[in-house]
Amino acid sequence: MSKSSTPQPSNSLLLRRQLTELTKRPVEGFSAGLVDDDNLYEWDVMIIGPPDTLSEGGFFKARLTFPPEYPLLPPKMRFITPMWHPNIYSDGVVCISILHAPGDDQYGYEDAGERWMPVHTVETILVSVISLLSSETPNTDSPANVDAAKEVRTDISTYKKKVRRLVRRSAEESI
């Protein structure tokens, strides 16, 4: 209990440690770094489209924003690259259960265990997001992007075409 009565000092240490680890021994599939060297709470993330999936070849840029209360509260993740996915809002904000704060079940169906826990790290979040991008037919329950979810259910081939087009564009922009 001695170590956590105020979150500030310990969370900058926690973030710094994750950053060092990720720059030295990065995880397959994504790269992360600070937007601005003086601000540990704002991260640039580049997700490499996972091979053998719809997203193969894509380079997806995103921003992770950590609240001052991290790790008690989850960071927010927002794609800068345009995305088309039932679990990603049209403004790019990622909607997955592990990024939802514990305590309030505002979506009405999530177990506390599925939601944010302080043991999650940038790595575990990104692994979840990469798996989100990897699935052939994404989960359309309680979608963040209703139009994309509808398209997955009713016209999967158009959905896939749209995703492929965004993936191609993200690859062109990475040059």
């Binding site: 790269s31 770094g33 600070l34 490499i48 001052p68 345009p82 305590g103 309030d104 043991v119 062109e172």
Partner: protein, 371 residues
Amino acid sequence: MSDSQIQINVKGPSELKLQITISTDKTVLELKQAIAEKSDVEADRQRLIYSGKVLKDEDLLSVYKIQSSHTIHMVKGVSRSAASASTQQAATPQSLPTMQAGQNPHDPLTQINGHMGFGAMAGFNPFADMGVNQNDPNMMQNLMNSPDFLQQMSSVMSNPAVLDHVIASNPQLSAIAPQVREVFQSEQFRQMMQSTNRSNPEALSSMLQMSSALQGMGGGPFSNNPFGGGAARTGAFPAPGLPSTGVATSTTSTTSTEGQQQSQQPPPNPFAGFFPPPQTGTTGTGALPNPFDPAMIRQMQAAFGGFGGGFGAPPAAAPAVTTSPEERFQVQLQQLQDMGFTNAAQNVRALLATAGNVHSAIEYILSGGGL
């Protein structure tokens, strides 16, 4: 020169791992060539990614502050020449499209001059003398969906000569020339220009975010920045996907209106954890900070204001709760104790970890957390 030598690890496809020793005053392209010598991936097809960014061929390695023993990702992509061939064909014959803007009826820029009164371009000079048709909201979208226009726009943006012309001809811009260049050459800006299939509110909302980010870093001179018009407009615009406005209102509203807020407020409220809903079985809300405490609201607003302005100075933000966790979670701690969780230190940690939710805290403890 020799002290700028660094040793970089390269993590490539299919378990490929390389170590390259290179000087930080070399360019990214030279690094790619060094990688090409040690692998079978030609420099042209390599994409190097470090610190969440794709490295640009012409930049020096020092730009990215890569340090010794750091690892960069290498991904095989399509060769650069193949991918950009089509755009180059279109771009070269008309390297300075602004010069002929307004004269050729088939030139997409002429269309802009005619109709683009609202949104992105209002305020920068080549289009300053445009006739304004504010009543055609579809014009911008049509333009954004036209591949010709996008291609030309993007070549205009990436052409430094055009930029110089724009900056030189506008005194307001020339005062802040370096920032303007940065903005126009930034990937985000170009991407914003290129995003077809996006409706106007979204384009405007990302513009608003950029504008506030600029104000955050640039300070004074940006009060009359070229995006000011777009940003001001968004206020009146019924933009559904605007996180900043949605969140800002919810901080001052009560928890009872949260239900309505959610429909228009996509991101989960990160502060909701402070107000565990009563149905969780805790009776301890009294021990928690009063949600209407003005100081608390101010802190939240400060925190949220930070999001827009590049998350300004988080270390300066006061800790949201100042009482000790034992005091705050008195009731919950008692509950845990009564349920047979007797490790007080672990209980406190679990409650801190779960923002005071007893249910989550129990799960946390049972899964071995907080030991």
